[in-house]
Symmetry: C2
Subunit: 96 residues, 2 copies
């Protein structure tokens, strides 16, 4: 599997709006992507206004598919208005 | 749920030994902890000698239970010989 940790920082006061948009995205991913094995938004306890998305995909094709979906592009655009900078995306390879 | 990202750096040339010890730990966690919902070792693509463990627990009790098990303490001690410094553990709260 390929793991992803995506770090998203938001502008002050936009948590509710961000979380609502992200909930739509999570629902779409879980409903439509057989190759996605985990898609879970979390909020950091140590960094303010910071969310981390923990993701797993079956393989590189599944990860590529995720990024190419219309809902990912559409919701990503809507999310842009509340994000403080671009997301930082780290790729990981599962072991065992 | 409570999420955890644990970052473990290892000494050069100890990857096989580290991964073997961690495989034992993963097996024990998955077999014994009903409150653990994810326990997956990954290797970073961008940082050498760096592993990240992605974890989810049902609640704070489940997380506390994990750290108090004999196998966690025992395998943690064995792992200490190949780790380069102490693990960095970040706690996260799941959203949605």
């Amino acid at each position: 599997m390929i793991g992803v940790i995506a770090v998203l920082k938001i502008k002050d006061g936009t948590a509710s709006e961000f979380e609502a948009i992200f909930a739509e995205l999570t629902e779409k991913v879980r409903a439509n992507e057989a190759g996605n094995k985990l898609y879970q938004l979390t909020k950091s306890r140590s960094e303010s206004n910071t969310y981390k998305v923990l993701e797993f995909y079956a393989d590189a094709d599944a990860l590529a598919t995720h990024g190419q979906t219309e809902y990912f592009k559409d919701l990503g655009r809507r999310m842009g208005a509340v994000l403080d900078g671009r997301p930082a995306v780290e790729l990981l390879d599962s072991v065992g």
